[in-house]
């Protein structure tokens, strides 16, 4: 039973969303006698995290919440882990929510919590000598690097908090191979000036990456992996969070804005399966995933509604729909060629959108 449970809990986080049921049934085949493998429940942490999400207007999506818990479990057993996922799938928010709720637990005096501090850096923005430090070949002088300095600070024995060093950028062999000794059981960073800095228990290495195409197996096998599928969160919560934010800040163009948003999302995006349609029949000049398109839609809508809000005018439903159509066009169709734009226009016609009177 313990075997089955360990296998499941340690591997589940690594799979893409579609493979999770497959893996679970595999486990079932290998351990046919274990019908009911219990889940580990972190009651207090789950409660705190849920509370924090509610406070931050975040949508409670089941699959996405599981990722937070998986990250927590991984951070307990590993000192280096990678959060992998495409753009806009909520990698950063997962980390921030988890560390924040753990810090809050510590403030409440709960022994499970601990004060967390995040140190974020982009390792690909600087060269390797700038990252790890370099010895000047002329004078023999040691010039420390960004990472080595962060490392020293985070691993100081006097630290009371837990530091997460987040490398937010693509992983490739050039810089990450140097961290191999850190990520395995040696846990020592060796610098070019022969300085060896051991990793303390209060430090975790986190990599936030989009894919692992350029990572070597040596690195990947040393890390815990949490894969966040784009479908874990998807784009729907973005709209709901946006509505809730506006309701809270009292920045709505009309009291019914939230229900309109729901209605128009159903009407124009969900019912006709616009995303499927766009992926299949339309050609984008550059790739734009669903999440990005929805973000653009909301940004543009915010911008266009702002003048009315500052003037304290109430926007009527018909007008809101027009603005919505305009934003939908430019966020979903802005990257289309002329032919496809006409097709998009036809699509809107078929959804009986309030379109301008077109003479042609």
């Amino acid at each position: 039973m313990i075997m089955a449970r360990t296998l499941r809990d340690m591997n589940l986080s690594k799979f893409v969303a579609q493979d999770v049921p497959l893996f679970l049934s595999l486990i079932k085949d290998i351990f046919p006698l274990q019908t009911n493998i219990p889940n580990k429940v972190h009651t207090e942490i789950e409660k705190k995290t849920k509370g924090l999400m509610l406070e931050n207007n975040l949508e409670d999506v089941k699959d996405w919440f599981i990722k937070i818990i998986q990250l927590y479990e991984t951070s307990l057993v590993r000192h280096g882990f990678m959060v992998v996922g495409t753009v806009g799938c909520g990698k950063t928010t997962i980390m921030e929510t988890l560390t924040k709720s753990l810090s809050l637990l510590a403030e409440d005096g709960n022994p499970l919590g601990a004060l967390h501090k995040l140190q974020r850096m982009n390792p690909k923005a600087i060269t390797t000598p700038q990252l790890y430090g370099i010895i000047n070949p002329m004078s023999g002088e040691w010039v420390p690097g960004v990472f080595s300095e962060i490392w020293k600070k985070s691993n100081a024995k006097a630290n009371k908090h837990i530091s997460w060093i987040i490398c937010d950028g693509p992983v490739d062999a050039i810089w990450i191979e140097n961290l191999n000794t850190v990520l395995d059981d040696n846990r020592i960073l060796t610098l070019a000036n022969n300085e060896r800095i051991p990793m303390s228990d209060n430090t975790k290495m986190v990599f936030e990456v989009e894919n692992l195409n350029n990572a070597s197996p040596a690195t990947v096998s040393r890390c815990g992996i949490i894969f966040v599928s784009p479908t874990d969160l998807f784009w729907r919560p973005l709209i709901r969070t946006w509505c809730r934010d506006r309701a809270q800040d009292k920045l709505q163009s009309s009291p019914d804005e939230t229900s309109w948003c729901e209605e128009f999302t159903e009407k124009y995006i969900v019912k006709a399966d616009l995303n499927l349609l766009l992926n299949r029949d339309y050609h984008y000049v550059m790739s734009a995933p669903e999440v990005v398109r929805i973000t653009q839609l909301l940004n543009l809508l915010t911008a266009l509604l702002t003048p009315d809000i500052t003037a304290q005018k109430v926007v009527s439903k018909a007008n809101f729909e027009k603005l919505w159509i305009y934003c939908l066009c430019w966020s979903h169709g802005g990257l289309l060629e002329q032919d496809d734009r006409e097709k998009f226009h036809k699509y809107l016609e078929s959804r009986s959108a309030p379109l301008p009177p077109i003479t042609a």
């Binding site: 406070e55 931050n56 207007n57 975040l58 928010t93 921030e96 934010d245 000049v285 550059m286 973000t295 940004n299 543009l300 915010t302 911008a303 266009l304 702002t306 003048p307 926007v315 009527s316 007008n319 027009k322 603005l323 159509i325 305009y326 066009c329 430019w330 169709g333 802005g334 990257l335 002329q338 032919d339 734009r341 006409e342 998009f344 226009h345 809107l348 379109l355 301008p356 009177p357 077109i358 003479t359 042609a360």
Partner: protein, 116 residues
């Protein structure tokens, strides 16, 4: 490809009347001193691009204070060579207020930090 045919992309929602309006080039008065090579005359196309850029750029600085999210106020112009991307930006920059500055950076293999 028929360029003349109108579609929803040629229209916008008027700020005050909230009616659909066709994009038209904004009124342009020739400057007193004309340097012909530096003339930028707005077209319907450039005006509608500018409209989006302006609206996006005027978003509030923070999208959400509690979650510490920064607004995305950046625009990206995509297009083949000669489709007036640069001119569009220059026209946009012409309307800048006093405190706004346009900084153009050209990235290539020859760019070094010393260029800035």
């Amino acid at each position: 490809m028929s360029v003349d045919k109108e579609s929803i992309f040629d229209y916008y929602v008027d700020e005050t009347t909230k009616e659909w309006r066709l994009w038209e080039a904004e009124a342009w008065t020739p400057p007193k001193k004309i340097a012909f090579s530096q003339l930028l005359i707005p077209t319907g196309d450039s005006t509608r691009a500018e409209y989006i850029m302006k609206n996006i750029a005027d978003l509030p600085l923070m999208r959400h204070l509690k979650r510490n999210e920064i607004s995305q106020r950046n625009s990206l112009l995509v297009g083949g060579p000669g489709t007036a991307k640069t001119s569009g930006i220059l026209m946009f920059a012409n309307k800048f207020k006093e405190e706004q500055v346009l900084k153009r950076i050209n990235f290539s293999s020859a760019t070094t930090p010393g260029n800035f």
